[in-house]
């Protein structure tokens, strides 16, 4: 292999390993944030909890309201964690030089789905804040641009999947 390609491969491995470590750190933060939200909601000793700039004063919530916030917080944290995990796996593949492979494209597709779900979670949070009666801390608008971004990622991943199929078939042709 030429030395320029070797240098590029080393650079790819170094940067993707660094980004993978950043994703691991972010995953850790998501878990910590989620645990803090659970403790705050279950302890019910005041304070605020929220996601996507939608905040609830815990003292103003009924038991049912706290349960709904807890359920949505669990779902949202799961979606976040899944999205970041797929990104982490993608950078993991890149660190092994596996860039245009079926596995990498699979992770990209999962990320696209996670982005769409992320956008839906945003909408649900704003909906919940309006449903739990006149929350003065709720945002005035919902911005869910991540949904079309997720759909575009899914479309791109689909094309790449087809290309990987063709690539694999070509390699089998003698």
């Amino acid at each position: 292999m030429r030395t320029e390609n070797e240098a590029k491969l080393r650079k790819i491995r170094k940067i993707s390993s660094g980004l993978r470590a950043a994703c691991t750190g972010f995953l850790f933060l998501i878990v910590i944030g989620y645990l803090m939200a659970i403790i705050a909601l279950l302890a019910n000793r005041g304070g605020r909890v929220g996601y996507f700039d939608v905040w609830f004063r815990i003292g103003d919530l009924t038991a049912g309201g706290r349960l709904m916030v807890l359920a949505l917080a669990s779902l949202t944290s799961a979606v976040w964690a899944w999205c970041v995990y797929q990104l982490r796996q993608l950078f993991g593949n890149y660190s092994h030089g596996q860039i245009f492979t079926r596995e990498a494209v699979g992770h990209l597709r999962q990320m696209g789905v996670a982005c769409v779900l992320w956008g839906l979670m945003k909408i649900l949070w704003v909906g919940l804040s309006r449903a739990l009666s006149a929350n003065p801390l709720s945002p005035t608008q919902v911005s869910a641009e991540i949904i079309p971004i997720g759909i575009i990622i899914l479309v791109v991943a689909w094309f790449m999947d087809m290309a990987v199929d063709l690539q694999d078939e070509n390699e089998l042709t003698v």
């Binding site: 030429r2 390609n5 790819i12 245009f100 290309a163």
Partner: protein, 88 residues
């Protein structure tokens, strides 16, 4: 442009990776614009549509930067592949 490349079967190429990078940059700039627009206090329609403390556009910026990062890897890999295809 990207879908144009795909219609010609140019999927894992430098050109397609570059288009993805441009898209990522556009998303990041969109996020920056959303963030900056809330600092226009003299425009009541804009000022009144934001609550204090809302961080507008941060998600878009981060998404855009992630797309740019992924496209960088694709571009490097496409370059290496094209160079190897030239080797006899």
């Amino acid at each position: 442009m990207l879908l144009g490349n795909y219609s010609r079967g140019e999927i894992f190429t430098k050109g397609s990776a570059e288009q993805i990078r441009q898209w990522g940059l556009a998303c990041a700039l969109w996020g920056v614009a959303r963030y900056a627009i809330q600092f226009l206090p003299r425009v009541p329609a804009i000022r009144d549509s934001f609550k204090p403390g809302e961080v507008q556009g941060l998600g878009l910026m981060v998404n855009g930067l992630i797309i740019v990062a992924i496209s960088w890897f694709m571009e490097m890999a496409a370059e290496m592949r094209e160079e190897q295809d030239l080797i006899v």
